[in-house]
Structures are given as structure tokens and as C-alpha cells.
């Protein structure tokens, strides 16, 4: 089938405003859903679920969340790890303190706790921008690292400071096997992706992008900067907080404060930059790429029959990350998502490029 618009005249604005106005796009999405919900579960084994699909999906959720803030609203944040930590620890505390609560509700409450923290730490964005804002969000990172390792109440006074949890059980159904966890995470990602897509194509999304592109003009149109920026912080931290709760409860199962340190913040930011600023699909591509790259680099010497020390491999990983970040920032700031889009545009004109 050819990928093109020709012959598809939109007869109403409603049709034109659909999420995927081109028929082939809808087919693509249907195929992806089919792959995600049917093909992958049939083919993948436990290791692949645990090492690839589950982390990729949860990180995609976090990256989409961060992208709403950084890519759409233009507010730099180095605090994703902190928001994930808040989501995880808050969900944990709700769960142990109110055992009757449904774990999924606890995850959402974890997300809401991250929202509250996000809004508070978003307040500096009303005054400062760019680099200075990044530093302010970095402060949040250190603040949560300290809070969750020093204030024992949050970890329920476990002697080691690390937390171990039972598999999530909802209405008697236990998400204990990798495939069940996979379905849980994939469903959450699907719902949040739809919400993100709806937000960015509507009024609130335009308010974010307007604030990002030209804040003075946005204000003159009637977009209050405080509303635009804080709502971006709120929604973004909610996404990341829920991702944090999933990461802790579904992926890790047991964790310590170090699990949510600054490295995690950087990884998620890299996912957003490499995946594509201001693109929902970019968050997914970035999360896939950054999660797979180390696995790939670990395998590469074995495939090639080269003897390489693990230290060497991890150095290599950093170097490749560095080079890629520079490449994407300098050459293709719109990231993998843009490359994906260009491919589609080429496809649309193929085989007659002129």
C-alpha cells in the first residue's frame, strides 16, 4: 500500500483534526497496536520482556512526560529522576499505610504527589529560564535523594533503607509474570499516550508551545505564563511520577534511593533529545534507543569475536552517547522522530520525488 494523501480530501474540519488524518497513518497505528498486544506476547520470552520491553515501555512513559515539559513548553528540567522517586515512594507509602487501596489507585496517587512537587518546583520557572532553571530542578534531585535516604519514615524504617514489594495485585489478579507486567505497562502507556496526544493538539498544548516559542507574544494573546508553565510542570510530573511507581513496583520490585539518582534524570533527558523534542513518538523512540544501546554494545564484541573488558564497553557507551547527543543537538534537534517523519514524507512522494 502506498503512503499518501492524494484522494483523501477532508470534507470537514472534524476529519482534518483527527489525531491521524491520513488513512495510512491509522493503519500504521493499528499495526503497531497489533504488534504490541498480540505479536510480541506470542513471540517474546521472559528475558526479553524483563530486559527490554518492560523498561522501554516505562521509560517511554517518563520520556513522554518530560517531553511535554521540555519539548512542548520549553522548560528545561533535570529533575525527572526526582519525580520518579516521588511517584515511587509516595505510591509505596499510600500502599502500606492504606492497605485497602487498589494498587493502581496508589500509582495514580504517586503521580499526583509528583504533580504537587512538580508545581512547587516549577514556580522558579516563572522567574528564570534555561540553564538557571535546569540548576533549580537539579536542586530537587539532590533534595529527594537526601529525603528518601535520610528520612526513615518514607522507607517505613526498613533497616537497610531499601524497599522490597510484592507483585502488584489488582482485584485478586496478580501481575507476577513478565508477560502480565508487560500488558499492564503497555496498557498504561497506551492510555497516557492518548492523553498526551489530546493535550498537545488542543488549547493547553498550544499554550505550552506558544510559551516555548515566544513568551511575550503568548502573554499578549492572553496566555498567562504562570498557567502555561505550571500546568506543564503538573502534567509532566504526573506522567513521570506514575512511570516512577511502575518502575519501582513492576520493573524493579525492590529498590533503594540510588535507583532514582541524577543518572536517571540524564537518561530521560537524553531520550527526549535523541527521540525528538516536541514529539510524542519521539519519547518512545528515544526510550527504545537509549535502553537498547547498552544491551547492543554489550553484545557487539561477542558477535564480532572481539575481547573487550566491561569497563571498556561502558566507556564506549558514554562516548557514543556523548557523540549522539552532540549530533542531535547540532544537526537534528528534532531527533529520531524527525528522521522518522522525513522517511514518511519520502515515502509519500515515492517513487516520484518531484
Amino acid at each position: 500500500m502506498f503512503y499518501r494523501e492524494a484522494g483523501q480530501f477532508k470534507t470537514s474540519y472534524k476529519a482534518d483534526q483527527a489525531v491521524f488524518p491520513i488513512f495510512q497513518d491509522r493503519v500504521f497505528v493499528a499495526i503497531w497496536l497489533l504488534i504490541g498486544f498480540v505479536v510480541v506476547p506470542m513471540l517474546a520470552n521472559e528475558y526479553v520482556f524483563r530486559a527490554i520491553f518492560i523498561p522501554v515501555i516505562i521509560m517511554a512513559l517518563a520520556a513522554i512526560g518530560l517531553n511535554l515539559l521540555v519539548g512542548y513548553c520549553g522548560q528545561v528540567s533535570l529533575g525527572s529522576g526526582a519525580f520518579m522517586a516521588v511517584g515511587a515512594y509516595a505510591a509505596y507509602n499510600f500502599m502500606i499505610r492504606i492497605p485497602e487501596l487498589n494498587p493502581l489507585i496508589c500509582f495514580l496517587l504517586g503521580g499526583l504527589s509528583a504533580t504537587v512537587v512538580g508545581v512547587i518546583f516549577g514556580i522558579p520557572s516563572l522567574r528564570i529560564k534555561g540553564f538557571y532553571l535546569a540548576v533549580a530542578t537539579l536542586a530537587l534531585q539532590f533534595f529527594t535523594d537526601w529525603t528518601f535516604s535520610r528520612i526513615d519514615w518514607f522507607t517505613n524504617y526498613t533497616p537497610s533503607g531499601s524497599i522490597a514489594v510484592q507483585p502488584v495485585a489488582v482485584w485478586g489478579f496478580i501481575f507476577d509474570s513478565p508477560i502480565r507486567k508487560y500488558f499492564l505497562c503497555l496498557t498504561v502507556l497506551l492510555i497516557f499516550t492518548i492523553i498526551a496526544k489530546n493535550l498537545v493538539r488542543g488549547r493547553i498544548g498550544r499554550a505550552w508551545m506558544a510559551t516555548r516559542d515566544m513568551d511575550v507574544a503568548a502573554e499578549i494573546i492572553g496566555i498567562r505564563p504562570i498557567y502555561a508553565k505550571l500546568s506543564a510542570f503538573a502534567v509532566s510530573s504526573f506522567f513521570i511520577g506514575v512511570a516512577g511507581a511502575l518502575w519501582a513496583f513492576v520493573h524493579l520490585g525492590s529498590w533503594e534511593p540510588l535507583a532514582f539518582d541524577i543518572n536517571l534524570s540524564f537518561s530521560i533527558l537524553f531520550m527526549v533529545i535523541i527521540g525528538g523534542l516536541g514529539s510524542i513518538v519521539g519519547g518512545m523512540l528515544g526510550a527504545t534507543f537509549i535502553t537498547l544501546l547498552p544491551l547492543f554494545l554489550n553484545q557487539l564484541p561477542i558477535w564480532l569475536g572481539i575481547n573487550m573488558s566491561t569497563a571498556m564497553v561502558s566507556h564506549l557507551e558514554y562516548m557514543i552517547f556523548g557523540a549522539l547527543i552532540i549530533f542531535f543537538l547540532a544537526v537534528e534537534p528534532l531527533g529520531l522522530a524527525r528522521i522518522w517523519q522525513i522517511t514518511k514524507e519520502k515515502l509519500r512522494l515515492w517513487p516520484f520525488p518531484h
Binding site: 470537514s12 474540519y13 472534524k14 482534518d16 483534526q17 492523553i195 489530546n198 493535550l199 493538539r201 488542543g202 488549547r203 493547553i204 498550544r206 499554550a207 508551545m209 506558544a210 516555548r212 516559542d213 515566544m214 511575550v216 507574544a217 503568548a218 502573554e219 499578549i220 494573546i221 492572553g222 496566555i223 498567562r224 500546568s231 516536541g278
Partner: protein
């Protein structure tokens, strides 16, 4: 030219004794003038005369050190730009201030922000009010796109458009708010004659069809004389002239300070 057949209303905007300084620089000194409903008022003056500063005072970007602005009967000294927007003041900028990463359509849709009020949850799910309102406002935006004859570029990111079209899109974004008072800061700067004619026609049409009051800044004297009902002349932050185009043409102080240079 058409001040006789135009039905001017009561005073809609009144600036009284406005003074504004940046450090030592006196951008505006004791400026007073009035704008009537449905009027097209031009503000002219040499570079650095304080024209843009005056517009910035009117829509709340700058707060004057002294004096007051009365708009629709409400006196105010300090007001935020978004408050000006809620009262029906829209504007364009001397250096285009479009949202570069967004399409033409989205830029103009953004201009309708204040007219939209779907709740957050409805927007998350794109149902009910959120959905209906997108479609409803899209219709209005398409009318503006037709009016400005930019149908073919509606999906283009504005950053990729040539300068003249960007100016046109910016006008579209301002019109999307259906303003009562439209402030245009050099809407024709850097345009060729054809583009200027188009832009002049749009401005006159907006004024005619929607009854929008317009305050515009322009350097091209031909355009100014053709378009405006009245002209205010600034020089070094002071008002040196205020009257109909023919008054201004014959005003000694204005000729010395300004017109004489270009004639």
C-alpha cells in the same frame, strides 16, 4: 481621505500625560491623545521616537512612570498584557513574534485561546466541550485564513515562511481574538509594493467589516496618508503633531522634524 463618510464612535482609548523612561532614556514624555471607536490612527515619527513604547504602554507590556490610560471608560495605571487581551486589545510586533515551531493554523488558533474554555479533563480525553470547541473555532480560523488568502500554507510551520507572509499570519493571529482595538507595529515594514497594497487592503477591510479600531505605526508616508483618519507624530518621545493627514502635511513642526527629511 474618508474621514467624512466614516462613522466614528465615542472615545475608546485615551492616553493622558504618559511618561516613560528607561534609566536615563526618556522614551515618552507627557504624551496625551485619544482614539475614537472605528478610527484608524497612525503614530509616526523618526527611529527611536517612542512609537513602539507607546503601543507597549497601551497593552500593558510597559508600565508608564506617570500618566494613565483609559480604555472603554476604565482608567488604569498598571495592567498585565493578558489583562489587556481579555479586554479586547490585540497586537502585532515590529519584529515578528510568531510561534516559530507551530503551523500557521496553530498560530492563528492560539489567537483564540481566550475564547475557549473546555475543562482540563475534557481536553485530556478530547471529548465534549473540548472537541466541539476545537471544531467550532477551527471554522472561525478558516474564515480568517480565507480572508487573508493564506489557504495554501495553513499547515506550514511559520518559521519556513517568507517575511511578508509571516507578517500576514501575525495579523491573522491578532484578528483571531476578534479584538475591539488592534495595535499594529509597522505591519508593512520590509514589504514590496504589492505586499504593502495587500496589507493596506486587509487593514481597511478589517476596519470596515468588523468595525475594529486600529492604531498603527508606519514609516511609509504614502501608506499612512492613505490609511489613517488621524495621525499622531512623535519625536524624541514628545508629541509634536496630532491631526488629520492634511493637517499633518501642513504642520510646520512636523515638516521640520520629520517630513522635511524624506521630502
Amino acid at each position: 481621505m474618508n474621514e467624512t463618510d466614516r462613522k466614528l464612535g465615542p472615545t475608546i482609548l485615551k492616553a493622558e500625560n504618559i511618561s516613560l523612561a528607561f534609566g536615563g532614556v526618556k522614551a515618552l514624555t507627557d504624551i496625551s491623545f485619544e482614539v475614537k471607536e472605528h478610527e484608524i490612527l497612525a503614530i509616526i515619527g523618526p527611529n527611536g521616537a517612542g512609537k513602539s513604547s507607546m503601543l507597549n504602554v497601551i497593552n500593558g507590556v510597559y508600565h508608564p512612570n506617570a500618566g494613565s490610560v483609559t480604555y472603554k471608560g476604565n482608567v488604569r495605571q498598571r495592567m498585565k498584557p493578558h489583562e489587556a487581551a481579555t479586554q479586547g486589545i490585540a497586537r502585532t510586533f515590529q519584529n515578528i513574534a510568531l510561534f516559530k515551531g507551530m503551523s500557521v493554523l496553530d498560530n492563528i488558533m492560539t489567537g483564540r485561546t481566550l475564547k475557549m474554555n473546555a475543562g482540563f479533563l475534557a481536553q485530556c480525553l478530547y471529548v465534549g466541550r473540548a472537541r466541539n470547541e476545537e471544531i467550532e473555532h477551527r471554522k472561525k480560523v478558516e474564515e480568517i485564513i480565507d480572508f487573508l488568502q493564506i489557504q495554501s500554507i495553513r499547515k506550514t510551520p511559520v518559521g519556513r515562511l517568507p517575511y511578508g507572509l509571516q507578517k500576514r499570519v501575525e495579523l491573522g493571529r491578532a484578528l483571531a481574538a476578534e479584538p475591539t482595538l488592534l495595535l499594529l507595529d509597522e505591519p508593512m515594514a520590509g514589504m514590496n509594493i504589492e505586499e504593502k497594497e495587500d496589507m493596506s487592503r486587509f487593514i481597511l477591510d478589517v476596519n470596515d467589516e468588523f468595525g475594529t479600531t486600529i492604531v498603527l505605526i508606519e514609516h511609509d508616508m504614502g501608506v499612512v496618508m492613505d490609511l489613517s483618519d488621524r495621525i499622531v507624530v512623535l519625536d524624541y518621545g514628545k508629541k509634536i503633531g496630532d491631526g488629520t493627514p492634511s493637517d499633518i502635511r501642513n504642520n510646520k513642526a512636523v515638516i521640520d522634524a520629520y517630513l522635511g527629511v524624506s521630502d
